[in-house]
Amino acid sequence: MAEGLKLAAASLTTFVALILAWEGAILLFDLPAYVLPRPGAIAEALSRGWIGGFLWPHAWFTLQGAMIGFAFGAVAGIIAGMIVAEIRVASLAIYPIVIAIQSMPTVAVAPLIIVYFGVGLPSKIVTVALLCFFPVFVNTVAGLRAADPRLIDLYRAASASRLRMFLDVKFPGAIDHIMSSLQIALVLAFVGCVVSEFIASTAGLGHIIKSFANDLNVSVMFAAILSLAAMGAITGFAVTLAHRRIVFWRAR
């Protein structure tokens, strides 16, 4: 508790010092607002965006793109990982495809996805899902393959079915790996959604950042960036919390 308090105090001090340095730098170097807006201007843009409400639909758009894509990518990654780890023949068939897809930088493919799926939400979801798939897939395979061979022997000695072995030993053992990969995939989800919005979009925080960059309205851009950071932090915290709850046996 005392440790937590100390941490909070330290973070707050850093934050306040940073804001003061910011203000100071603007005064000292006489920076124009289109290069670096004053913190006050960003706060104003944030309050206009959130209390006034004009950032709401854009944040919601980005959140949907990131979360739905994340869900599809993660589920696909887990299922493909299970198949590859458990079925030898399938692993031979699937691995080359996965590697081929992975070798193409998803960001380079993103414009093509927009050509196929349009400028709306579907293209965002597909881009995000593609980005999230790989880390989850790789970690699912690694987690399933890391099962303790002695435990497997124990089940084999009992002539247990492969399904039972999978449900009792392998899958629960892989959950820790999988949860860690979700953490990584989540970060990629927001990156993927914003990149797709940069390319072409009807809405979203990435779309806001790009459009306001054209009129050099830097304070609204900062407000959108801070909103993205907050969304990433909150969802990241939720995943961490879920990880700790589910993998309760791991000392942290």
């Binding site: 084999r156 002539s159 046996w249």
Partner: protein, 274 residues
């Protein structure tokens, strides 16, 4: 002192009699490795009688764990025969219990459910074996911890869960692969006593692997000494110390005589690290 005095009388040392519970005859095992075939065991003979406690003592790498794998039927011998309870071992044998060097529990299952793992693995009724599992937990002095999770227990307690798990399906034979090697010296001595008690109160034979000479002598009816690779039994020593054995056993001149003899055997062995 014990209700089953004959369990403490060792079968006539060695001697491949037909009554042997576990009989290993002329077993050879060759591993295929990237550097060619590796003969892990060759011409290995060993018998374990019903309710007998036999230790296999040998330097690391001599093939002790390999021997256990053969007995569980998970690995077929390249040559030779293994019979258990009158039937040849071909393929997995569900009537053996296994205890490893590490507890190897499922961290997401509580102690009771970990003990029930062999039942669940067989697809048998977990419910029908609950009382048996609780009884075994009492035997290993963990009945108060049935609902705890492995990470809440000490290393010694976890290993006791592992022993209870090895016994839950009433195996004809319990295989123990250096079960106390990972424990600290104090816990180890307590566990030796507890294992003796567990063995005396259950109708199981034990094949116990170790590289601790005092441990082997303290616990066993017979000690089989394995030589360096390719592993085979080079000598079998009957331990004629009275049971139950206790603190005073280790000071018994006979105990010292036996351990000294076994030590001298290892001295003579090339590249022995026991």
């Amino acid at each position: 002192m014990q209700a089953v005095p004959d369990a403490t009388t060792p079968a006539s040392a060695g001697g491949g009699d037909a009554a042997s519970h576990l009989a290993i005859e002329g077993v050879r095992l060759v591993y295929d490795t990237s550097r060619g075939p590796l003969v892990a065991l060759d011409g290995l003979d060993l018998q374990v009688g019903r309710r007998e406690f036999v230790s296999v003592l040998g330097p690391s790498g001599c093939g002790k764990s390999t021997l256990l794998k053969l007995v569980t039927g998970l690995l077929p011998p390249s040559a030779g025969r293994i019979t258990l309870a009158g039937a040849a071992v071909r393929g997995p044998r569900p009537d053996v219990g296994i205890v490893f060097q590490q507890p190897t529990l499922l961290p997401w299952r509580n102690v009771l459910n970990n003990v029930l793992v062999p039942i669940r693995a067989r697809g048998a009724s977990v419910r029908a074996h609950r009382d048996k599992a609780l009884e075994l937990l009492k035997l290993v002095k963990l009945d108060a911890f049935a609902r705890h999770y492995p990470h809440e227990l000490s290393g010694g307690m976890q290993q006791r869960v592992g022993i209870a798990r090895g016994l839950v399906h009433d195996p004809a034979l319990l295989l123990m692969d250096e079960p106390f090697a990972a424990l600290d010296a104090m816990t180890r001595e307590t566990m030796m006593d507890e294992l003796q008690q567990i063995w005396m109160s259950t109708p199981t034979s034990i094949l116990f692997i170790t590289h601790s000479i005092p441990e082997a002598v303290y616990l066993s009816d017979r000690v089989a000494v394995m030589g360096p690779r390719p592993g085979r039994i080079v000598e079998t020593v009957a331990v004629d110390l009275p049971r139950p054995r206790g603190l005073e056993t280790m000071a018994d001149p006979r105990f010292i005589e036996l351990t000294t003899h076994l030590r001298s055997l290892f001295r003579e062995m090339p590249e022995a690290e026991a």
